[in-house]
Amino acid sequence: MIIFKDVNKLFSNKKKALDDINFTIEDGEFVFLVGPSGAGKTTILRLIFREILPTSGSIIVSDIEVNKIKKNQIPFLRRRIGYIFQDFKILPERTVSENVSIALEILGAKKDEIEIKVADILETVGLKGKENYFPAQLSLGEQQRVAIGRAVIGNTDIILADEPTGNLDPKTSWDILRLLVKINKAGKTIVMATHNLDIVTSMKKRVIHIENGKVVKSSLDKLY
């Protein structure tokens, strides 16, 4: 469960990025964060991920008040949250399987376990047979699948996706969406920031609409 309670965020340039944000996302939900560029979507994701701290208010993720945890506890929070970035953030000098296995290596998983899980997840994300490819040998859609594989392979309960289709063509975007739905059906909570309204309206999932740092609409009836 993710709870935002009276959250405000003021950046050092005095720009108010978030203004009194309140919402709750239940376990296993698929939620879109929508709004124009600069609305505050990424700021919300970064707050959940404890990349930044709120100016005031409280953020609870899986019963952890993330704005109050110590710095050395941040890695353990992040191990429960998979983050899919618009620019993928995969390592160019490592193969597909090496990129995906990092998430398990940091957990201290054994080699045998890593091999089994990596093979399994690469099949799920549709990269079977490309285990030893380097990112430069893959299409953008395939690179995003590597990032998704890395985000879901560990003990993650929540997946945060920041414009995961932003750099992709429509067909590949739908492929990625279908993959995220599949992951959501497997029980993981998905919070996806996007400004692609076609996707949002077609998917019929819950939507939180942000504008100028405020929640202007939160559709709980899964119709937007």
Binding site: Y83, K111, E115, E131
Partner: protein, 302 residues
């Protein structure tokens, strides 16, 4: 399918020139450290050897009989300033001579007990008493020669202290140089891995997980340097060992460490001493590698 992050060796092989520069600098540093360690060990052992020898030896003419010498011995003991006095008869002098020159039959020929002088070997309780005892012996009749070793000990002590001082300063300077090189190279590696570090941090890697590969690389550089320098030093020591036997011909053994029946000698060169050089190298190697990596991480990994 490789599912593991690159090993330390794979990381080092990806930057061969940096690795070579680091290992060569480390090797040079440890070679200097090993050389000074060996010189310091030899000078200390030689000093200890002379310190444990009789500090004054008085040689008598044949006119001084054994009773007179025994009287002198008693007189010396009465001063209360003498810790031990040992009478060496002509016969004992011959057996010592034979032992010292057992490998040289030419020197053993024609030498009999008659031509060797009887002597008294004296050790004082305090080094300050040496001049007084020396003068007392010099005044005795029928003394052929008095050998007074305090001069040798003083000279050796001065040399040993100088070697230690120069050694410590030189090793410190080389260690600082090695540290700077290590910090620079590990710092470059951190800068090159910035993207990887950022991603690892974002997906939940702990600080230790991120730092571990850099610490391992620093340790591999310095421990490799330490091992190479140990091999070079040991081979050089074994190579010059025959030359030392000519230089130290009257000394049977130079002990480096002697504890509860266990003895490590620097001469003849023992495996224990070669092992001690390895331990010193690995200790300094570990310290330089660890400190260098940690400083680089502190400096470049904010």
């Amino acid at each position: 399918m490789q599912t593991q992050s690159p090993s330390v060796i794979q990381r080092l092989r990806r930057t061969p020139y940096q690795s070579l520069a680091a290992i060569l600098t480390m090797t040079l540093t440890f070679l200097v450290a090993s050389t000074f360690f060996v010189i310091a060990a030899y000078s200390s052992s030689i000093l200890s050897y002379f310190e444990t020898r009789p500090q004054i030896v008085a040689y008598f003419t044949d006119k001084k009989d054994e009773n007179q010498i025994k009287e002198l011995e008693a007189k010396l003991k009465e001063t209360g300033k003498v810790s031990s006095v040992r009478y060496i008869s002509k016969e004992e002098a011959l057996s010592i001579y034979k032992e010292d020159n057992k490998n040289d039959p030419l020197l053993l020929e024609m030498v009999t007990a008659d031509i060797l002088p009887a002597s008294l070997e004296v050790q004082t309780t305090q080094p300050e008493y040496l001049p007084e005892i020396n003068q007392m012996l010099q005044k005795e009749p029928e003394i052929e020669e008095v050998k007074y070793q305090q001069d040798i000990v003083d000279i050796l002590l001065a040399w040993t202290n100088s070697i230690r001082r120069v050694g410590i300063v030189t090793v410190l300077l080389f260690s600082i140089n090695a540290l700077i090189v290590l910090v620079t190279i590990i710092g470059m590696k951190i800068a090159l891995s910035r993207n990887e570090i950022d991603i690892l941090t974002l997906i939940g890697a702990t600080g230790w997980y991120v730092k571990k590969p850099f610490i391992k690389q620093g340790l591999v550089y310095s421990l490799t340097g330490a091992l190479i320098s140990w091999i070079i030093t040991s081979l050089a020591l074994l190579y010059i060992s025959p030359a030392l036997s000519g230089f130290l011909r009257y000394i049977h053994t130079l002990s480096f460490i002697s504890y509860k029946g266990m003895e490590i000698s620097v001469y003849p060169v023992s495996y224990g001493f070669i092992g001690a050089i390895l331990v010193v190298n690995l200790f300094i190697g570990f310290a330089v590698g660890l400190i260098g990596s940690l400083v680089a991480l502190k400096r470049f990994l904010k």
